[in-house]
Structure formats: structure tokens, C-alpha cells
């Protein structure tokens, strides 16, 4: 009996917590992204990837802005493609943009002072309603952050 009451109380608590999360909405997108390095650059080192919302706080108010980082990760050595599930936080904004750069010197920094230029690129998923997307990013822009390439 005591266990049943405890379960009931826990259930009630979870139900209450569930209400708190009602305003959180996620869209799962199966994404494949291929990364092509501009021949002007050496092709070596690891690709660093960032996923962003296309717009955060959409609606045009003062707090609306392009981009808004969702996640970042580094591909395994030599990998030039990524395939996986991206969770887009629709409660924060809308759209999906993928940004990447190539860490030629392996220092973990895009274009540290005095280092050779490293290429970056960006692409936007055109249609999220299919829950899957395929992108090709050309890494060709030296030393540019995502904000300098989008919109």
C-alpha cells in the first residue's frame, strides 16, 4: 500500500513536471552532410561542425536574430561526411543551418594569429518538413565565422 501511494505521488510529481516541459518542442532531423575542401587549401586535419537554428526568437522583435548554436562536434580524423540525427529546438527558433571548418594545423582554433588560413563553409536545410536532409558544404571561405557567412 505504501509503495502504491509512493508511486501515485511520484506519478503526480512527474505529471506536474510534464506541464513545465509543455513549451519545449524538438524536431528530429536525420541529416547527412558532406564536406568538400576547396582545392586552394590543403586537405588535411579534422572537420569541426556546428549546427545552428536559422533564426532565434523569430518574429522580428529586437531579440530576434539569425543563427543560434544548437550543437558542435568534431569529426573523426579524415572523415569528410557526417550522418546522424539533429534535434532542432523549435521552442527557441526555426530552421537548420550547418557550419563547418577544417582544422588544418590541428590546434582546435580556426585561424589562430600567425597560422595559415583555414577554410570554412555554411549551408541551410531548405525543407525540414521531411525530417531528413542532405547537404554539401564547400569549405572555401578562409577564417570566417558562421555569422560572417549567414544570412
Amino acid at each position: 500500500m505504501r509503495r502504491a501511494l509512493a508511486s501515485l505521488a511520484l506519478g503526480g510529481l512527474l505529471l506536474a513536471c510534464g506541464c513545465v516541459n509543455e513549451s519545449y518542442r524538438w524536431l528530429e532531423v536525420d541529416l547527412r552532410a558532406d564536406f568538400a575542401v576547396d582545392p586552394a587549401f590543403e586537405d588535411g586535419g579534422n572537420v569541426h561542425v556546428q549546427t545552428h537554428l536559422a533564426v532565434t526568437n523569430p518574429g522580428g522583435g529586437v531579440l530576434s536574430h539569425p543563427l543560434g548554436e544548437i550543437d558542435r562536434f568534431e569529426l573523426l580524423e579524415g572523415a569528410r561526411s557526417f550522418e546522424g540525427r539533429v534535434e532542432v529546438p523549435l521552442h527557441r527558433g526555426e530552421g537548420l543551418v550547418v557550419y563547418a571548418w577544417l582544422d588544418l594545423d590541428g590546434d582546435g582554433l580556426l585561424c589562430a594569429p600567425g597560422a595559415e588560413p583555414e577554410p570554412a563553409g555554411i549551408a541551410e536545410v531548405e525543407d525540414l518538413s521531411r525530417f531528413e536532409a542532405r547537404l554539401t558544404l564547400e569549405l572555401s571561405e578562409p577564417c570566417r565565422g558562421p555569422e560572417a557567412l549567414y544570412p
Partner: protein
């Protein structure tokens, strides 16, 4: 230097300045934030509310709107014995929010003998609207009280070394308006922590390319995540090699982040050792919470006394350098 240090009286008409060795020294706080609670993103509102002490955290919006108002800031200044202050416009919708140039102009018009302002601009549509943003900035800088430009690469999300944004420095130099730059990491949600957005070494190209533009390196590259000096030596190096670089030690010595004052003492000591006292401009990064503006001034003066600053040097830091760099007249006491 053994004479008592006396700050403005708590009761009666405010007495401005700090009294050191019988000499009253005027003070300007070059780093204060006006604003409105609704101009702050929800995640940052939650972050700020969590730092307000009870019972202020039960209604943080009311507290913030009160202390960030013109009257609220003047009250904090009076309590600190500070006559003049520099108020910042901010366009950082991803992180700390938006306080428009027009909002700051309203404060300047409210108390023109007490406030100056730094204008800013949006950079989040730079590829399509950079000229429009620069035109808006130039228009804001035409206000007689707008004496400089505020930038924060980590909050606004643009690289310190990207030449696409160097038009801001060109404009500031042409209009002889010093540029204040947040350097170092920041604890606010959504802030970029990448080196190119936080490490002042990435500013060297711009500093060298625009010798007629004054660069004021805010927070001395302090790491507000790990709460340790990370960019201090870089800032000192840049100021030593470039005459257009100035240094501002705000926030890093706050009571919560630097409880025993060691970080602030270290900064003040190293800058003096490097012969850069004539490059230091005092700021607090207030108002933050009631009493912060006064406490930060007290802690900074103590740090200078502890590290051997002469009275003349203290005056340079607290108001003399500000007056010279910004070309304004500070009210004499």
C-alpha cells in the same frame, strides 16, 4: 599613503569624489549599463535572477528596471560619491540583450551633466546591412553626449580579426570616438567562448591597422568562466606596443568573483609595473545590484593603495585618463 580614505557621505547631499591624503579626487565610472528587463533574453533573465539575493530574486524584473533606470543609476552613483558615468548601448540579442542608442540618448538628455554614452550597432545582418548599421552608428554618434563606441565580440558574435567589420574602427577613428571592447570570456548564456571572440590577441591586426582609433580593452581579457587572468599579459603587451590601446579593469574584481581582491590587485600591480598607469581608465560594469558601484570603487582604490599607486596616479586612473582620452571635462570638486 596613510591618510584615511573617505567616500561620499551616505546621508545628506552627496559629496563627490574620494578623499586620499587630504586631497579629493574626482571619479568617473566608464562602464555602466542602462536598460530594460524586457530587452534581455529569457535565458539571461533567468541567469541574472539567480544571482540576485533574496528577496530581490522573487521579482527580478522590478529590481532590474529600478536599478537600470536613469534615477536608479544616479542613486547608485550618488551613494558611491561618483559624479559622472559612461552608459553603454548594447546590441547583443543572442546573449545580454538590447539597450538601444535611443534609450541611452534618453538617459543623456535626462542628466546631461552626469552622463555620457557609448553608442553601438547591430552586426547580425552584416553581409546585407553593414552600411545601414554603420550609418545608424554615425547618426547616434552625432549626439553631443555620445562620446564613443561599445563592442563586445563575444556577446555580439563576430570575430575580433575579421576585416569585414573593420569599418567600425575606421568610422570611430574618423569621428575621434574611442572604442570600448569587451575582452575575455563571459558567463552569460549564449556567449561565444571561442578564442577569436574573446582573446585580445586577435585584436592586434585592427589595432595596428587603425592607429588613429583608440581601443579600450575592457576587463583585461579576464576569464569569467574560470575566474582567472587569461588575457592580462596580452593586454599589457598590446598597450606597451601600441599608443592607441587603453585598459579598463571592470568586473574582474567583483565581491562575488574575487572575494579577497587578489585578482584586482594583481591586475593593478602588473599594469603599474609595466609603466601603463596613464592608460588605465576606471570602470565598474555596474550597476548589477544595489551597492555594487560603490563597492567596486572602494575595492579598486584599495587595490591601488595596496600596490603602491601614488595619489597622482590614482587620480589618473579614476578620472584624469578618461578626461584626456575622451576629450571631455570632468566636473571639478
Amino acid at each position: 599613503m596613510t591618510a584615511a580614505l573617505v567616500f561620499g557621505a551616505a546621508c545628506g547631499p552627496p559629496e563627490y569624489g574620494v578623499l586620499i591624503d587630504g586631497r579629493r579626487i574626482p571619479v568617473v565610472d566608464m562602464h555602466l549599463h542602462p536598460g530594460e528587463w524586457h530587452g534581455v533574453p529569457a535565458a539571461t533573465q533567468a541567469f541574472l535572477a539567480g544571482r540576485f539575493p533574496f528577496p530581490f530574486n522573487t521579482n527580478p524584473g522590478d529590481l532590474a528596471d529600478g536599478i537600470l533606470s536613469a534615477e536608479g543609476i544616479l542613486e547608485e552613483l550618488d551613494d558611491a560619491g561618483i559624479h559622472g558615468a559612461l552608459l553603454y548601448a548594447v546590441y547583443a540579442p543572442r546573449t545580454v540583450g538590447v539597450a538601444t542608442n535611443e534609450l541611452v540618448e534618453g538617459y543623456l538628455d535626462h542628466a546631461p551633466s552626469r552622463f555620457w554614452g557609448l553608442a553601438s550597432l547591430r552586426v547580425d545582418q552584416w553581409r546585407d546591412a553593414s552600411q545601414e548599421a554603420l550609418d545608424d552608428l554615425e547618426a547616434a554618434l552625432a549626439h553631443p553626449g555620445m562620446i564613443g563606441v561599445k563592442l563586445a565580440h563575444a556577446h555580439m558574435h563576430f570575430r575580433m580579426d575579421d576585416p569585414a567589420y573593420f569599418g567600425i574602427y575606421e568610422l570611430a577613428g574618423r569621428m575621434q570616438k574611442p572604442v570600448y571592447l569587451h575582452t575575455g570570456t563571459s558567463p552569460f548564456p549564449g556567449t561565444s567562448r571561442d578564442a577569436a571572440y574573446t582573446d585580445p590577441v586577435y585584436l592586434e591586426g585592427a589595432i595596428e591597422a587603425y592607429p588613429d582609433t583608440v581601443f579600450i580593452l575592457g576587463h583585461l581579457g579576464f576569464d569569467f568562466i574560470e575566474r582567472e587572468h587569461r588575457g592580462l599579459e596580452t593586454c599589457i603587451d598590446l598597450a606597451s606596443r601600441f599608443e592607441n590601446v587603453y585598459l579598463e579593469p571592470s568586473a574582474l574584481g567583483s565581491p562575488s568573483g574575487d572575494p579577497n581582491g587578489a585578482q584586482l590587485r594583481e591586475a593593478m600591480r602588473r599594469m603599474r609595473e609595466a609603466g601603463l598607469v596613464d592608460r588605465i581608465i576606471y570602470g565598474s560594469d555596474g550597476p548589477q545590484s544595489p551597492g555594487f558601484v560603490a563597492e567596486y570603487l572602494e575595492r579598486t582604490v584599495e587595490a591601488m593603495r595596496d600596490t603602491g599607486y601614488e595619489v597622482d596616479e590614482i587620480e589618473m586612473v579614476l578620472s584624469g585618463n578618461f578626461e584626456r582620452v575622451f576629450g571631455v571635462e570632468v566636473a571639478q570638486l
